[in-house]
Symmetry: C2
Subunit: 602 residues, 2 copies
Amino acid sequence: MNHPFLNIINEKVVIFDGAMGTQLIKRGLKPGECPELWNIEKPDIIETIHKSYIEAGAEVIETNTFGANRIKLSHFGLSDKVGEINFKAVQIAKKAAGGKAFVALSVGPTGVLVEPYGPLSVESAVEVFKDQISSALEAKPDMILIETMSQLSEARAAVIAAKEICDLPVIATMTFEESGKTLMGTDPATALFVLSSAGADVVGINCSLGPDKIAFPLQEMSKYKCIPILVQPNAGMPVLSEGETVYPLSPEEFAKSCLKLSSIGLNAIGGCCGTTPEHIKFLKHSFLKIEPLKVMPFLNTVICSDKKTIILTGKDPVKIIGERINPTGKKALSEELKSGKLSGVIREAALQKNAGADILDVNLGVPEIDETSLMKKVIPALQEAVNIPLAIDSSNPNTLEAGLRVYTGKALVNSVNGSKESLEKVLPIVKKYGAVVIGLTMDESGIPKTAGERLRIARKIIKAAENYGIPKQNVIIDCLCLTAGTQQEQALETINAIKLIKEELGCLTALGVSNISYGLPRRNLLNRAFLSMALSAGLDLPIINPLDNDLLEIIKASDVLTGRDRNASLFITFAKATKDRDSEKQFFLENIIPESSPEKKL
Amino acid sequence: MNHPFLNIINEKVVIFDGAMGTQLIKRGLKPGECPELWNIEKPDIIETIHKSYIEAGAEVIETNTFGANRIKLSHFGLSDKVGEINFKAVQIAKKAAGGKAFVALSVGPTGVLVEPYGPLSVESAVEVFKDQISSALEAKPDMILIETMSQLSEARAAVIAAKEICDLPVIATMTFEESGKTLMGTDPATALFVLSSAGADVVGINCSLGPDKIAFPLQEMSKYKCIPILVQPNAGMPVLSEGETVYPLSPEEFAKSCLKLSSIGLNAIGGCCGTTPEHIKFLKHSFLKIEPLKVMPFLNTVICSDKKTIILTGKDPVKIIGERINPTGKKALSEELKSGKLSGVIREAALQKNAGADILDVNLGVPEIDETSLMKKVIPALQEAVNIPLAIDSSNPNTLEAGLRVYTGKALVNSVNGSKESLEKVLPIVKKYGAVVIGLTMDESGIPKTAGERLRIARKIIKAAENYGIPKQNVIIDCLCLTAGTQQEQALETINAIKLIKEELGCLTALGVSNISYGLPRRNLLNRAFLSMALSAGLDLPIINPLDNDLLEIIKASDVLTGRDRNASLFITFAKATKDRDSEKQFFLENIIPESSPEKKL
Ligand SMILES: [Zn+2]
Ligand SMILES: [Zn+2]
Ligand SMILES: [Zn+2]
């Protein structure tokens, strides 16, 4: 996006304004009064506050619309005023700015719990935010500032709403607790990756903590250097003094503390609760010669739930995708899903997570079932039950989109293939939700016979993805295996394809291994051997049954052999922690001296 | 070797003569009389017999020296006549031939058991045959014909004796029983490969059976088409008629039966017991227009004991080298060896063979022990105890040679490396005994760090071997693995080296896997994973502890995945025959529905 604000923010640290709420109270706002109503009733006061911030040096001012959404306004019986309040608020700010400052539409939380944390659906939240933002757009704000969010799902819904109805820059900042996470348990990196994948152009941290305590979450965000960061701290941690909430930092102290944050890396700074035009004046002065964070593309693959981020470098221990949430061949699970019961999938999720799965594949392909509706129900239920990322698995693009829309995270999509139809239907969805997609090396002609042909299809998928604006790191190639029982010569082709594709395309690979043994006896044994082979070829994401402990052990051992588990440190810990069933055997093997001789010679 | 006889035998079927013994009896030789003494006492009769065969059409006549070795002659009190008898015999035959036929020095068995079958050492047998052959050489025979051998060790000792004292063509033929094997249990292919690797220029079958029954062993030899074959059948299977041994086939019948053998493939034919000049006359006539077997180099790797041949194509199920006969770190075994007891190594051999080992590595590196003397004792003892091939393993070239000399078979030598000293000391020995050598990819500078460097050393070893006349198929490359505990980044280099060396050099590979886990916990688990990886890269000969059943299972499974176990037929049989411990587990994994819920959600 080529927008003046987005250009400037990469060249200098942009100064945002300070608090609106505390300024309004100073000017007579009573407890229980609706601050946003003043846009209609006392526009001059709002304009004065904006002007004081601009005079103090603010380059971006925020509209008085923090609570101007339908749900918040309804507490004041003002839900029919959403349109007027937001329109007016932007109008006032634009007038105050007079072209000398950017106007950011402030979008705050609804105050209700959004799924997976509570009853409000993601879709309803999106509608609430669209309602607010669309009214404001007529007055032409310069950007949308989603702020003070403590629920990642709500922040993400607001970003989606903004992106779907306008082309303005979208900023999304969340509040973090002393724990370093949001109230709902989202860590800063996850907030960063999920919000940026949903379309935010700037992310950051506001409110809650003073500048000192913001250092940790800021560090956790800025270390990736992949998106500009806005920080708006409070004027210190609030303290109660004579029954009143007081923010302790003086303008000078505030500016000094903020300056310390600049060495961590940020692109814009302003103030939240307790800050005044005087605070912004000192801030502006302090940041005159500060260089902004230098942003560049982040080239690793990132997959997130709402509470967990997995960064795949291709050099760290492999991550396991659990394959068990799939009703194919599972009668009990199918029946439960048909009757609308989710306990089966939740049980499978918990079992797999406990067994060691890093990501859970979610396939709901039950015949005679509305897979899309089911996916909308299952994804939030799974996200509430387990905190690891999900792979949304369907051959139906509508189901994939439904899942992606309600999924609070940066999902894995399973899958696209090399056929024209699949690429055209799946890739736009992947792009929109910033997901990572598994590309199957098959096309209209089916699964090719050679490693070279698989490489050709992989290249085609990556190229098509890039044409849709999906970077290569968001495509993971699945080289597909057939059963060795009927297509024996193909087993090594799959292994060779993994090596070839990694070498030629430098992308990550996934592979479901269990199909290799279909129709043969001793399936687990064959799966184990095949898995080691695939891992030595460079497989990054085995798709397995994580309850098969032998497979997990093979993965841990292979991570040592492929150098992913550096110095075998995880393996040594694992060996200590698990019952060492091999050590007894090793002793036996080294010391065996049978009493009776096995051949006549003795 | 460029010798007129060896040229002719590849262009036409060469006719040998018939029996000497039955001709002598016809002319008055009494039971209990020494037939070879007639070379001195009645040379004219011998000359007459030779002439009658030449007139009948024989192109090669055999001297009357079948029993003219020191041991056989000692039964007649003639052990001091070895020199005179053999010299005279050749003289008589040369006179009879008059340049119109080749003269072959007949060398028959000593009549005593040679190790590993009995008390006479290989070295003593070699000395007995050298004694006989060297006396004959002064009269300039055209070739040495070692015949009617039923002990492979004795036949091989005679070949070694001949090759060490002359440059004449050496033929070695053995007698086979109705079972298709020699009396001591050697199959025809093993006889073929072991005798040719010891230096025989022609191998074959004589005596014992009539031409019809020779079809099977002949087929088993000629199918490899790698060396010219001589067949000398009896005139049918002997029958007792009125107290006399009678050979039933008339000259015409004999020739007709022999002609049938020609379609199987042979290069020379004559008669043994019961055949007469008349038989040879019909034979000559029958074979006038018969094409000989077309001989060409055999390009697969062959390793043999005295009773078993392993042909390595690189495409069949991998063969396992058992690593347990190695006193390093085995106190009990070391102590036994120091006190001269062989029961320990024999027990280890039997255990490993029973567990599924195909080849046994024999390393006797005990400090403060005469490794060379010990090797000379251990090899025959092991050959008597187990019938699978051995790998003679030592860093001392003298020990290697001592082992090779007494080993009745075509041994594997473990090992040579890329250093100048090792190549110069080990390769001549490997060449002399026709052994297969394991080439370690290390040299004066130690083990290289990259796969590419390992390839360079492998190429150097193969080239050096070829310079010594050792064909590429007799070199197996060991890419060597270091422990992942201290040289983690090297693990994949070993795997990559296997693939690279197989692709670039087209040779077979061996690898000891257990070193990979040295110093780490859960060694067997790491070994299993590493073994699968090496097998997928193409490893042909894993060197393992065959008592580790998990490793054997991984090998069986990998053979399916790499296509070596075609249609998984061995694997399916194995799965049926073994207790299917995975199947219960598989059922559990597919059907698990725990009663109590693992997370609060349920
Ligand atoms: Zn605040
Ligand atoms: Zn604020
Ligand atoms: Zn005979």
